[in-house]
């Protein structure tokens, strides 16, 4: 933690000292991510994922574009997970550092803010955030590299239907924030379509730590499936713990995440049976080289899902730049679209979203269903949305 902060500080200082226009053979990538407050771990994962891909390409002699070879570097700014932070960071990257390719932000509000700054085709943004408004037909340079709820909820809940034929009554607990508010209607809809009945839909203020009243309420309403939606990993762990302590015996699911390690950490033995989705299976053979590179650079710090996601996104971008033969924003966006079928860490690239958002800029990846079994997170199924 301290070293990353120092590294980030050094980066920020370096960015201040260096003039915006680097040498001709220098390609700067921007990263916008939360590096303070609640989302810090995810932000650091984003930063590290991009850096691992950058290290890899520089070790291979740099990024060959047409006749030129670029040395790639990254500049990271904190958005504090807020709209204003997103605006400032994006302005700084685009206007100050002359960046044309941005990874992140991670939350709906900062993503929308950063997109507004980059709006008339100033940068390609490869972001992650649940809001459906992130992808629009006008946003030709905006791509989403993580699955959002509309993509994974029907598949995940369909899996629940198949494996729990008799369950019917669902209670949803979600944070009363931007993500929770945009996601809940989608979830409710997916549950209804799968034949469940959403009996309770509770929104919780950030910072709540006593969930016993909510769980008591769920138990009194004879809820069979508690859905934790986009609750933070810490909150999810607390809800699981308190529900089991109060004698709740039904299913606890989280269509959102990723949070399983933290849930096990907080709820201990009571986490048994908690089921969630994972964007990435770090135990698979394809993941091994990335995991090794991560260990070599960052030691035994836990690797969250944003590391492979952003690593993958950076590699896709490099490929598109190579194919475009230039760093022109429009040309690179067009080549990104054409990457369909290109092999990647997450399997062959699939773009989706046309029918839902009117643009094929949603990266579709298989996801995994993970469950706590004998106290350990275990991948039990692989689902294609």
């Amino acid at each position: 933690m301290r070293t990353t902060l120092l590294a980030a500080a050094a980066l920020a200082l370096a960015a201040l000292i260096n003039p915006p226009q680097g040498a001709a053979a220098d390609l700067k990538l921007g990263v916008i991510a939360p590096l303070s407050g609640g989302g810090t771990d995810w932000g650091i994962g984003t930063q590290r994922g991009v850096e691992l891909a950058v290290d890899e390409i520089n070790a291979a002699g740099g990024l060959r574009v047409g006749s030129e070879t670029y040395r790639v570097s990254t500049v990271t700014y904190d958005d504090q997970y807020s709209g204003q932070g997103g605006t400032t960071a994006a302005t700084r990257l685009i206007e100050g550092d002359g960046v044309k390719f941005i990874f992140g932000p991670l939350g709906s509000t900062p993503v929308l803010a950063a997109q507004a700054v980059a709006a008339p085709g100033k940068a390609v943004i490869l972001s992650s955030g649940y809001s459906p408004r992130i992808l629009t037909p006008q946003g030709r340079h905006n791509f989403r590299v993580t699955l959002a709820t509309p993509e994974f909820a029907p598949a995940f809940i369909g899996w629940l239907r198949r494996t729990n034929a008799q369950a019917k009554r669902v209670g949803i607990i979600s944070p009363n924030d931007a993500t929770g508010q945009s996601v809940v209607p989608i979830l409710v809809d997916a549950y209804k379509k799968a034949g469940f009945e959403v009996v309770l839909d509770e929104k919780v203020e950030r910072g709540t730590s006593d969930f016993t009243p909510l769980v008591t309420r769920m138990i009194a309403q004879r809820i069979e499936v508690i859905e934790l939606d986009s609750s933070t990993p810490g909150d999810a762990g607390l809800i699981v713990k308190q529900a089991r302590q109060l004698g709740y015996r039904g299913m606890i699911m989280q269509t959102g995440g990723p949070a399983i390690d933290e849930v096990v950490n907080i709820a201990g033995g009571l986490a048994e049976g908690y089921t969630t989705m994972e964007w990435f299976d770090a135990g698979s053979p394809e993941a091994a080289p990335l995991v090794a590179a991560y260990r070599a650079k960052y030691g035994k710090a836990p690797m969250n899902a944003f590391v492979p996601i952003m690593y993958n996104a950076a590699k896709l971008l490099f490929e598109a730049v190579k194919r475009a033969g230039s760093t022109d924003v429009t040309a690179v966006s067009a080549e990104l679209e054409k990457l369909e079928g290109h092999p990647s860490l997450f399997g062959a690239v699939r773009w989706g979203g046309q029918e839902r958002y009117g643009i094929n800029h949603q990266l579709m990846t298989d996801f995994f269903i993970a469950q706590v079994k004998q106290g350990k997170p275990t991948v039990i199924d692989r689902v294609r949305p």
Binding site: R2, G37, S209, D210, P213, T216, G268
Partner: protein, 289 residues
């Protein structure tokens, strides 16, 4: 919904919350009563208590009930350094003291972030048994929380009521000038009151860490609850803090079970405004001179 089983479950949850709130609010109100400082960093001392407990209990492997008081005393001792360096300059100066304590709060919170990172972590359950009494589920954890709070409240009362230093604190709170004229060592009294206050906050922080989770930002919750409790009960009063804590803990538990968490928040804020306007001295307080 209104079955006996559910009502008693809610009451039990409420009492656990009340116990913690009272512990936090008593320290908060003591500092205000004795040295007229609204200590914005009170929640951070609870946060430090949580991490100190984690150190003594998890890292050093002491027994929970041994580690808890040691953690509280350790935080209390650390707070005396801050008392000497920062707080002492602001006694009896409400506004500057409040702003300075805000600075302490920010520095401690982000000091915690630098040391421990931002993710929520937990203190493994020391008592994992769950008892079922009829239809009610009672966890051993909660029994311990209530027990610890009761013991410390009793100790606090005894100290305040029957010892010289307790008498000194009460006199200073009542009338500082006269107390000084009577030869009471106000500096020593302040120091002691500060120690007790932060140690109680740390104790509560440890219990919060055990029951819920730990993070550098966890101090905000106890601070806001302390605010509400002292407004309900009246700033500076002991009985008021106890009653305020009970009203808040039970009220929150009932309202959020029956009407949801948002409703509970609106109601508690509405209640505060009403009380501040119509009985600024609190539900049980008497008017200040």
């Amino acid at each position: 919904m209104f079955t006996f089983a559910i009502l008693s479950q809610i009451a039990l949850n409420g009492i656990t919350l009340s116990a913690i709130y009272i512990l936090v609010a008593l320290g908060f109100t003591l500092i205000f009563g004795v040295m007229r400082i609204v200590n914005f960093a009170h929640g951070e001392f609870a946060m430090l208590g949580g991490f100190a407990l984690s150190f003594f209990y998890v890292s050093l492997g002491l027994h929970f009930l041994v580690a808890l008081p040691i953690a509280a005393v350790a935080v209390g001792a650390f707070s005396l350094v801050l008392e000497r360096v920062v707080y002492r300059r602001f006694y009896q100066r409400e506004m500057p003291g409040m702003i300075a304590s805000l600075g302490v709060s920010i520095a401690l919170m982000y000091g915690g972030v630098a040391l421990w990172g931002t993710h929520q972590r937990s203190i493994p359950s020391a008592f994992s048994a769950v008892y079922t009494i009829g239809p009610i589920f009672v966890t051993a954890e909660r029994v311990v929380v209530i027990g610890v709070c009761l013991v410390s409240l009793a100790l606090f009362y005894l100290v305040l009521r029957f010892t010289r230093i307790g008498l000194a604190m009460r006199v200073v709170a009542e009338d500082r000038i006269t107390a000084e004229a009577q030869g009471i060592d106000t500096v020593a009294t302040y120091r002691f009151a500060f120690f007790i206050s932060t140690a109680m906050a740390a104790l509560a922080g440890g219990l919060i860490g055990q029951l819920f989770s730990l993070s550098p930002f966890m101090g905000l919750m106890p601070l806001v609850k302390a605010f509400i409790v002292v407004i309900l009960g009246g700033l500076g009063g002991i009985l008021g803090a106890a009653i305020g804590g009970l009203v808040l803990g039970l009220g929150e538990s009932f309202v959020s079970t029956f009407y949801g968490a948002s409703a509970a928040q609106f109601i508690s804020f509405g209640l505060i405004i009403a009380i501040l306007l119509f009985r600024p001295q609190g539900l049980v307080g008497r008017k200040e001179g």
